[in-house]
Every structure is written in C-alpha cells, then in structure tokens.
Amino acid sequence: MFPLLRPVRGWAVLCMLLALTGCWDAREVEERTSVIALGVDAHPQGYEVTVQVPNPLKVVGSGGSGGGGGEGGQAAVQLFTGVGKTLNDAMNEIRNQTNQRIFFGHTQLLMLGDQMARKGISGMLDALRRQQEIRRRQWALVVKGKAKDAMKASPKLEQIPMEYMVYLIANGVREGRYSSEGLSDLYSNIFNPGKQPILNFIEAEPEKVRWLGLAIMNKDRMVGLLPRKESQVLLQLRDEEVGESFNTPCHKRGYIVFQPQGLKRDVRIQFQGIRPVIRVNVDLRGEIVEKSCDVDLSRDPVIHALEKQVRRRYEHLAQTMVARLQKQFRTDACNFGNRVRAYYPQKWKQLDWSEAFSQADVRVNYHVKILRIGLEAK
C-alpha cells in the first residue's frame, strides 16, 4: 500500500510484531493477589480495612497438592489489615504487605462492621464507586462486631471461609429468606430519594456463621437490627420474597407450621389530607409442614380455621414490624415512599417523607391459602 515503505517493509512488519507482543496492563493471574472479601471497620483513625485472600497453593485441585487434599479454613487464606484515615489510605497499608498487586476484581463480599455501618458508609462507598475494579455485583453485609473478626471465622464445610458466607447468603436468597440486595442495590437505594437500603446482618462465631436479621438503614447509616421473624415479614412487604416458615398456635393446644411458597403483594396508597393511608394486601400460598395439635387437616373447615390463624399471626407480625419501623427506626424500609414518589409526585414534593411515614396509617392484610399438607393425609 505504501510504496515508499517497500524497501523497509520487512523491518516495519518486524517492528509491528514486536510491539504486538503484549500490553502495558498485562497482569497474569499469578501476578495478582485476588481479594475474595473486603471488610471495613470503623477505627479511631478512620477506617480499618481487612481483606481475605485465598492461597492458591492450599486450595484443593491446585497443582501443588497434586489434585488431592488441600487445606481448608483459615489455613487456605491469608488476612491483611490496614488502617487509615481514608479507605485508600488503609488499602495502601495492605498494598505494602502483599507481594503482588492487590486485585479486587474477584471480590464477592463486602463486610461492614456494625460500628462502621452505624457511623455512616457514604464516604467509603464513594471510594468503592470510583474504583472500576470493584464489582457492583457483590454481596454487602453488616456483621455483628468487627468485620475483621468475622473474617477469622473458619467454617469447616467450605475451603475458603468467605465462600461459606457467600453461599449462606446466596442460598437464603434463593429460598426467599434473606434480602437479595447487594452492593449495586445499596448504591441505588441510597441515591433514590424514595428508597431505603436494607442489608443482611450476620454474626460470625469461630466455626459458624449465623444470619440474624436485616440491618435497617437510613440512607447510609444503619439505624437498627430488625429481628429474624420481623425481617421475614419485611421481605414479604418490600421485595415479595416468601420468607421462612412460621409456627402458628393451633386453636387447640400445640402448633402448626406454615411454609409459604408463593406470594403476591399489592400496595395501595391514598392520602387523607397529608397523612398517607397505606394498605398492603398480601396473598400468601403455602403448605403445612408440621402439626403438633390434634386436628384433622383433611377437613375443609379445619383448613379454613387454620388459614385464619396463620393470617392473624402474619398480620400481627406485620403490624409489630411496621410499628417498629415507624416509631423506633423512623425509616421507611418497606419503600412505600418510592411509590409515593412515582405515583404522587406532587404530594412527594410537599411531604417530608420520613416524617410522613412515621405518622402514616399502615395496615397489612394477609390472605392465606393452604394448598397442601405434605405427605400426611390427615
């Protein structure tokens, strides 16, 4: 194409080939310290950041152990901790401890110590949002105590401790028991004026991890922990998740246990003057999984009576939960505000929603349908 270049064409091609051998940013997998979980705690100085890094040599199936054994728990990972006034300051301390470049592209979990969460996380979230390496798709959790200590837990069933947490959450989410909201949702819930974030709250013991409930957030600050049972109802109202099974007192002595399987939620908001009147209808379908009272489940009237019992139980829980949100937390974790913002933009502009929500008349009605009673015929 370029006649003048003809004599030097060979050299030109050679130079191009040499230039094509790689790129500035090539970092092979083994040249990275891949962080699997990032923990942030409040510290008198600012932040204390802890990262968990799996050790590839110790993980099953890697070349070193000949595809065999491998070690698990804390033996398979290493923790690094850094302290700093800003998040990057703290991360720099970690960078100075690792042999390879620290890489957050595979991070699956962001853990916040509850102190941190209560102090407010917008500052550190800014640091995460600016970094292209940090994925939006990762779990964000609040842990009881310090995230650093939670990272030291070593459950036996999973080789890398943090994977245990990831699966714990992922599994609960699949069954509709935990909040499915990760970092991405946390961001948009903070920035959307009509919404409030919630985060899963867990507790770590030396060999165990436990989900305790939902951390209720007022924008970037955690305002409290919603207990487990009430969290289930919140998930039903907020995200249409089914939630876990509940025991309901039978009308005779003993209990029956109702396992919800399908759920439809319908929120209606009206205004009496400036007072919001919120009516939530929940259609709940499920089955009886346990019975410890003496009733005959094959009879229709019995089933109807039990449906009523289950309904009452749920409605009671829902009212307790809503009252707690209104009075104790003063935070609209059900995201009713988002509907007001979307459907009543004029009202939304006039109202201070957090105030209006705590004054709102909220009523939750359940309609329970028992579809099955398990393998027992009676």
Partner: protein, 388 residues
C-alpha cells in the same frame, strides 16, 4: 446497457450501505455516556425526550437528504460550486463553497478526534489503567486512517459488514433491562416544565451527531431517489438503540443514581449476571464490541473528510492514504488537547451542539439558494471530475 453497471465505479454505494453508514456513524462512543447528560437535564423524562430529540435528528437528516436529492449522483464538490457560483466563472462558486465545506469538515475532524479521546478515556478507566493515552490514541488513529483512506466502496462495504455487530450489545442491554429494571424507577413521568423539557429534548438531540457525512457520501449513491427511506430508517434504528440504552439505564439505576455514573452503560452491563458465573465481568466484552462502534464512527468521519479534501483539491484518488497520514498529527493534537475529562466532556458538548447547528444551517441555506435559483442536478450523467 444497464445504467447501474455503467456507473458501477462512480456510484458504488447501495441503499442499504447508505443506511448502514448513517447508523454506524451516529452510534459511537456517545452511547457509553449520553444517558447521564439526559438524566441530568430531564431525569426519568429522558425516556421520552430521547424520542423527540430523535425526531429532530430525523428532521435534520431529512433537510440534508432533500437538498442532496436535488443533485443526484453528483458529488458535493461538484454541485455546490455550481449552485453558488455563476455559469461563466466556476472559480467564484468554488470559493463561495469553501466556507461551507470548512464548517462541515471542522465538525468531522473535531468529532473524530474527540471520539478517539473519549474512547481512550473509557479504555484507561475501565481496562487499561497503566497504558499511556498516546499509545491508545495512536493505535486507534493509525488503524482508523488506514481504513478511511481506502476507496469509498470499501468503506461502504466495511459498514455494511459491521452494522449487525452494533446490535449485539443492545440485545444484551435489553436483557439487563428485563432482568434488573424496576418499573418504579421510570416514574414519575412528565414532571418537567416547558423550559426543562425543551432543554431535555435538545440535549437528547445533540446525542445524534454525525449524519452530515451524507455531504460526502450521498453523491455516490446508486439510487439517491430512495435515500429518504434509507436515512429515515437509519435514524429510526438509532432512536431505538438510544431509547433502549436510556430507558434501561433509568430503569436499572433510577435517574438519581444515573446522574452520578461516569460511564453508565458500562455499569449497566456490570449489573448483568450471566448464568453460571462463566463471564463475570461483561463490561470488558462490551468494550471489545464497542471498539467496532467507535471505530466505524472514526472511519466514516475520516473517510468523509479525506473524500472531500481529495475531491475539492482534485487530488489523485490513490493519494488518499497520504492525506490520511497527514491528518494523523492534526487528529492526535486535537485528541490530546482537552486537558482533563471534564474539559473533554465540555468539548464533546460543544461539538455535539455544533454538529446539528452547522448541518441545519448549511442545509437550509443551500436549499433556499437552490429553490431561489431553481437549480437542480440536471443531467445525472454529467461526468464527475476525473479523479484518476
């Protein structure tokens, strides 16, 4: 003899290729960030301002197409001097036509330089944090010039071939929208004052820059009489692409977060979950595909520029590559000029405003003159000036 085969060499661009040229030129790096500007001015209402902005873009291209249809199968460098000048002295027309060409070419050169730099910024922030900007810019520019200095029919085929690639990410974004989008984020609609709505529509309109390349390419169309349909369908496709991208971003992030995202389309794709965790970081894939979109924009703008220079100054056709090579330093200088990313977005904005302004002004002035002087293309078989 079949007229189309007779004109095969002079009139190489088919009607579908014309359609492809418009789509690939307009759709470029802007898709990676234009929703942010729309959300900042119009919020959730960007979902419909983008449609009206697109209609304005349609109007713009319609004016240009109607103008160019009066001179079928003639290159702009041929009919414009004739239109502006007198019959006797052709030199006058040529001099009068120069400012018009200059105004349009200024858009082409600055838009291509800025597209290059903007994409360079995307690459540096998203995948190559350590690679120097100059290396990225030169790689893009040299490759683009290499393609842009090929004959027009090659450019046309190049676009025809690559057009379907642009649809792939749009399908992906649509899937993300369906999966992650929230209906409530797109509400409330129609909350804008008239002034805000007007501004929102204009900002949306400025995202559709680049259709002025018809000044260079329409002279090569085999069937210019069908150009309106091809061009309008092209803008319709672009509106659809932009609408999907904007609406998906609003639905997934909500307008309030969307305003704060530097490259929302990348974050949009980042929010996608691929089943089975096979591909975890889809944004790299998107960028890889989007290289094509940016590249076609670059190539088409540069090819238009080179074509006009070659035709205007009667340079030999095979010297295109030397013109291209000579343009590289200029383009590089323009691309490296914005001193930081804010400055870059400022210039992108200026060029976005300039593009429709110059197309519409030039289009309307020339159309008015053509109507007043009752000039038409006349005999389409008048040979275009010898080029080789």
């Amino acid at each position: 003899m079949d007229p189309s085969s007779k004109q095969g060499k002079e009139q190489p661009i088919s009607i579908y290729q014309g359609h492809a040229l418009i789509v690939t030129t307009v759709v470029g790096v802007g898709v990676l960030y234009m929703q942010r500007g729309i959300a900042q001015t119009a919020g959730a209402d960007g979902i419909w301002t983008i449609l009206l902005g697109g209609l304005l873009a349609m109007l713009e291209l319609y004016i240009l197409t109607k103008l160019l249809q009066r001179f079928p199968k003639q290159h702009s460098t041929v009919w414009m001097p004739r239109l502006l000048g007198s019959e006797k002295r052709s030199g006058v027309g040529k001099i009068l036509a120069l400012p018009f060409f200059f105004a349009i070419a200024l858009f082409w050169i600055s838009a291509s330089a800025l597209a290059c730099r903007t994409f360079g910024e995307v690459l540096v922030t998203a995948i190559f944090p350590l690679t120097p900007m100059s290396v990225i810019l030169l790689t893009l520019l040299v490759t683009a010039v290499f393609v842009a200095s090929t004959p027009v029919e090659v450019i046309a085929r190049f676009n025809e071939f690559l057009l379907p690639v642009l649809y792939l990410p749009v399908i992906l974004i649509f899937a993300v929208w369906a999966k992650e989008g929230e209906w409530l984020n797109m509400l409330p609609l129609f909350q804008l004052s008239w002034k805000e709505a007007g501004l929102g529509i204009l900002v949306s309109f400025f995202a559709f820059s680049g259709s002025s390349i018809v000044f260079a390419f329409m002279g090569y169309y085999q069937q210019p009489e069908k150009a309106v349909k091809a061009h309008m369908s092209a803008i319709a496709v672009i509106i659809l692409i932009y609408w999907i991208v904007t609406a998906a971003s609003v639905a997934v992030f909500g307008p309030d977060e969307l305003k704060r995202l530097m490259w929302p389309t990348l974050d949009l794709v980042k929010s996608a979950e691929f089943p089975g965790m096979i591909l975890e970081r889809l944004e790299s894939g998107l960028i890889a595909i989007w290289v094509v979109a940016v590249f076609t924009t670059l190539v088409n703008l540069l090819a238009a520029l080179i074509d006009i220079i070659v035709r205007l100054f009667r340079i030999q056709d095979r010297s295109r590559k030397w013109i291209g090579l000579a343009l590289i330093p200029v383009l590089y200088f323009l691309a490296i000029w914005p001193k930081d990313i804010q400055d870059l977005f400022f210039w992108n904005w200026i060029v976005g405003v300039y593009s429709p302004l110059v197309s519409i002004t030039v289009g309307l002035i020339l159309l008015a003159i053509a109507l007043l002087r009752r000039k038409k293309g006349g005999d389409p078989h008048v040979p275009t000036p010898p080029t080789s």
